[in-house]
Amino acid sequence: MRKAYRFMLLLYPRGHREQFAEEMNQVFEQLAAERRERGWTWYVRFAFGETAGLIGGAARAWLERRSTRPEPGQTPTRWMPQELAEAQQRVDASVADMVQAIANHRFERARVLSNQEREAREKLRELREKYGDEYGRCV
C-alpha cells in the first residue's frame, strides 16, 4: 500500500508534489498504522478512501492549476516558489490587518502590525533578490 501511495502521488502536478509529497507520505504512514490497529475493516475502508481522495485531489489540483494561470499584470502567487509565495502572502495579510486596525481606531495594534509588515517586506525583498524578477513585481 505504501508503494502504491507513493506511485499515486505522481498523479499530482509537480509543484504540489514538491510542496507536500513528503508530508503526505508521513501522514499516510501514521494513519495506515493506526487504521491497521483498529482492524482490517477499518484498513480496507481507509485504503479505498485514500485512493479516491488521491485521484480526486490530483484531478482538482490539475484543474485549479489550469484555471489559476495568472493574467498579465496579475500577482502570480500560485506560480511562485513556495517560500516566495508565502512571503508575499505575509505582506498582504499584514497590510490587510493593519488597515483594519487603523479603521477600528486600534492604533497601538496598528503600530505593532506596521513593524511586522516592515519585516515581512524586508524578507520578501531578500527572496526576490534570490529568485530574480521572473515572477513579476509583487509589492
Binding site: 504540489h16 508530508e23 494513519l31 508565502e86
Partner: protein
C-alpha cells in the same frame, strides 16, 4: 463614530465542510497534518474521515489564499511542519460561524412556528 471595516471578498467566499473543519481545528492552536486529521474526526464525532488527498488539497488552497501559514515547529514529533491560522483566516472562520449561527436561529424559529400552527 467607529467604522468597522470588513473585506467584502472574504464575506462572499463559500466554505466547504473540510475547509470549515480545518479552520475550526486550527482556531485553538497550530497543528500538523496528522493531528489535523485526528482532530477533525473528533470535531465531527467520528462522522468525517478526511483523506490525505482532500486534506492537503485544502491546505494548499488555504495557503495560497493566505488564510493559514506553514511553519517549522521545534518539537519531538515526526512531523516538523505545522499550520496556523492567519488574521485573514480567523476573520473568515468568524464570518462563517456567524452565518451558521444566524441560519441555526432562523431554522429553529421556523420549526417552532410550524409546530405552533
Amino acid at each position: 463614530m467607529r467604522h468597522v471595516v470588513r473585506q467584502h471578498s472574504l464575506e462572499t467566499k463559500p466554505l466547504t465542510e473540510p475547509v470549515l473543519l480545518i479552520l475550526t481545528s486550527l482556531a485553538a492552536h497550530p497543528r500538523h497534518g496528522y493531528a489535523l486529521i485526528q482532530d477533525i474526526e473528533l470535531l465531527s464525532n467520528g462522522r468525517v474521515h478526511i483523506s490525505t488527498g482532500t486534506l492537503f488539497g485544502a491546505l494548499r488552497r488555504l495557503l495560497e489564499d493566505g488564510w493559514i501559514e506553514r511553519f517549522e515547529q521545534q518539537d519531538t514529533s515526526r512531523q516538523k511542519l505545522s499550520y496556523r491560522l492567519t488574521g485573514v483566516g480567523r476573520r473568515q472562520l468568524q464570518l462563517e460561524l456567524d452565518r451558521m449561527k444566524h441560519l441555526t436561529r432562523t431554522g429553529f424559529a421556523r420549526l417552532r412556528a410550524a409546530e405552533s400552527l
